[in-house]
Subunit: 466 residues, 2 copies
């Protein structure tokens, strides 16, 4: 009886102790996370750093002088912050240049209406005098294939399937339309087309052409490819409907070219782990951007948030257990060479990557994280950590992709958990790959909340593992 | 035994039936909600209506020609949509005018530095030649009181406590700073000050003065009150610190005046309930705006979303059980007379208000709803309806205020549930009451998602009651 009572009392005490300890741990975590947010919101550097990257350096397409400047500046920035190690990873990247600004107009009888276009990345130029041809409008690759060579030969193919406005996440609309941009030139060339123009990848009706990557295929003729603004696409489509068959022509002139691959770099800053330095947690974004604007949301915000994560810890005098890395990947936009190189070196060095966090969906207000894990990390993260992050607008931690640059790590570093920082997506395609992706369109607090969210998650992974 | 078995079987069947029926009901609701969103996102009118309100009508301060035009236009808009009843509620409103644009500069020795200011709403003018005086900077009403009359008399009091960047919800920062704007002139005048200038109510460092309401008190001298841009406030504060004591003066000239109260209107559109027409569910925002800009987010988005809720139902041929009302309140900004009148008439008419939904926190991406209920509606809404709204970025339904305009209904219509539509708050104070609150700063999809969220909640309340 006494033994039993003793046993029960001990069990009870133990249970209470566990609850109390776990409560204390939760409490200590929530205090630490609050401190992270205070630092980011009250004394953050992300916004001013982003301003420098956008306004003093500007466009950073792979192989450009801007890209090289951004490498040198972010390296110096992290050195000045006093991170333990700052280094470069050499990587050869594609080097494409837009050249002289494009010209395009709709020729409707004697009427010549200029429309905003931009060559797609990797496209070839037109002949110097430009291309003038009739236009075939299609809504899909399948529709094009069904038209056949007789109809398409010698013409400019105009891909005009708009974004579907119905999906709530705008990336779903992007995925539903981007085959036109990526694959359009190949399929059109197979049928003898002389060029393609592609409706810009955005919900918005505006005058910005949105560039972006496109592909050619071996053994298929390369033809010039350009994005047209959505307003331009609407106008062209209307002209094609209103005018006599065959009377509308389109003129396109672009000057772009691909140079030999150029030497560039991933830029990496590290805080070395105190107890488990061989275990690596990375936060990253891509340093390169398209050439039309400042690459503010794509992906200046992601790289400056990544540097900010380490700066926050440094300013708080936090000593991580594991090694924390801020990684600025080169060449996400037109090659992914930086991401591939990082994974290759991680594998060659037999590095133990616990988690890789990527921010490449814009610097907008936080929504959550998406997790791609070979282990069963998701349930635990959602159950144990989400309550700590909910007060900070992190509404879910759910299954999903980590991001393009960290994707190659999945095979290169088995066991790694890939995590995408997921901000609100509504405004992203308003500015994606277009000349309005500028610093002025970034809200300071939204940017800082993202950096703090990434830091808070990094802290939890560092403390608890995955 | 048999009876018992029969009973158990019956109970089991009944339980299964309830689960199945409830499953079917949930499913029908989720289909209906998806249709609401499809209509709003694919065929919505809110964005084009907002463009008209902002660009063709513009500023709509109570008593102004713009306010009157907005009354006439929204009435016609709802009539053209074919709502069952569209009518006006007469209400006398304050009529304050800014007059000639303000002038202000810092006088630092021989240096004259112009800074952006805007008279606060309801303020009196300065004398025609303006006011020139030394400046006393304070961070709080308490700090001012402690200075005492000897220090303050004859001077301009400069309230310069910034927004606290640490709260995640920006409205918390606003609430923490706005006493300076509302009460500052009273407390300063008590100590003999000649005017007050108040740091603009925003996190952002920029050049926009943000106006807003302020009060005078009976038996306290009225002194002119103006908002100064945050950059202007930082500059003035620096000059005061750097310069010899007493050498910095400030010059303020403003021309504003209060005219006799003017006749204006709340504008109301109704769809009559089919089975319970006496039970009213309202959705609303305020039609008036400050005079400095287009009142896009404050509160053009709220009124156009409210009209859109009824238009969506009309376009879907949905026959509400209860009576649905879109209410455009007049004079939220400087008097709340429209909200008070609406409640007064609801009480006089013994109207049975089930729920009132208000959208007056900007047309930003959705976060949730806040609920102020005398009944125990909140738990049920959160438990039963939140799962239906989660796919649409509604992350919570939680306790909180409904909004200024519907506030007076609480006593006037006992049992009403007051509900605030809660968009993301990060960008709101960038544009609040300032000249950059324009149509261009509204994102189409964010606006539409808000309208759809309000319609979805209205549908659920209409179907299930509260």
């Amino acid at each position: 009886m006494f033994r039993n009572l003793y046993f029960k009392a001990t069990t009870l005490c133990l249970a209470l102790l566990i609850i109390a300890t776990s409560g204390r741990a939760q409490n200590a975590d929530s205090i630490m996370i609050r401190k992270i947010y205070d630092e980011a919101l009250d004394k953050g550097h992300a916004y001013r750093n982003l301003e420098y990257l956008c306004k003093k350096i500007g466009p950073r397409l792979s192989g450009s002088a801007g890209a090289q400047k951004s490498v040198e500046w972010t390296k110096k920035l992290m050195e000045d912050y006093g991170f333990d190690t700052v280094y470069l990873q050499e990587v050869m990247v594609p080097h494409w240049e837009r050249g002289v600004k494009e010209t395009a107009f709709i020729l409707d009888g004697n009427n010549k209406i200029t429309v905003p276009v931009a060559a797609l990345g990797s496209s070839i130029a037109t002949p110097q005098k430009g291309i003038t041809a009739q236009v075939i409008e299609v809504r899909s690759l399948d529709e094009l294939k069904n038209l056949g060579e007789n109809t398409v030969k010698g013409k400019i193919v105009f891909f005009n399937r708009p974004f579907n406005p119905k999906p709530i996440e705008t990336f779903d609309a992007y995925r539903g339309a981007v085959d036109q941009r990526g694959q359009g030139a190949i399929e059109a060339a197979k049928l003898g087309a002389v060029a393609v123009i592609v409706r810009s990848m955005t919900h918005a009706l505006d005058d910005y052409p949105h560039t972006g990557g496109m592909r050619y295929a071996d053994n298929v003729t390369k033809i010039p490819a350009a994005a047209i603004s959505t307003n331009g696409a609407e106008l062209l489509s209307r002209k094609l409907k209103e005018s006599k068959a065959g009377s509308v022509q389109f003129y396109l002139k672009q000057d772009c070219r691909t140079l030999p691959d150029a030497l560039s770099y991933n830029v990496i800053g590290e805080m070395r782990g105190s107890s488990d330095p061989e275990e690596i947690i990375s936060v990253g974004g891509h340093l390169d951007s398209w050439d039309l604007a400042e690459g503010a949301h794509d992906d200046g915000t992601g790289v400056m948030q990544s540097v900010e994560v380490l700066r926050i810890f440094k300013s708080m005098n936090y000593k991580p257990k594991r090694t924390l890395r801020a990684v600025m990947f080169m060449n996400e936009e037109n090659g992914l060479r930086g991401g591939l190189k990082y994974a290759e070196l991680a594998k060659a060095g037999n590095e133990k990557h616990i988690a890789a966090i990527e921010s490449d969906a814009g610097g907008f207000t936080p929504r959550g994280f998406s997790v791609d894990s070979s282990k069963d990390a998701l349930a635990g993260m959602s159950q144990n950590w989400l309550p700590l992050l909910k007060p900070y607008l992190i509404e879910d931690i759910k299954a999903g992709g980590g991001g393009a640059d960290i994707g190659p790590l999945r095979n290169a570093a088995p066991g790694v958990t890939l995590i995408g920082y997921r901000p609100d997506s509504q405004r992203y395609f308003d500015i994606h790959h277009a000349s309005n992706d500028v610093f002025e369109n970034v809200n300071r607090r939204e940017l800082e909340l993202g950096a703090a969210a990434m830091a808070a998650l990094t802290y939890l992974i560092d403390q608890k593992g995955l």
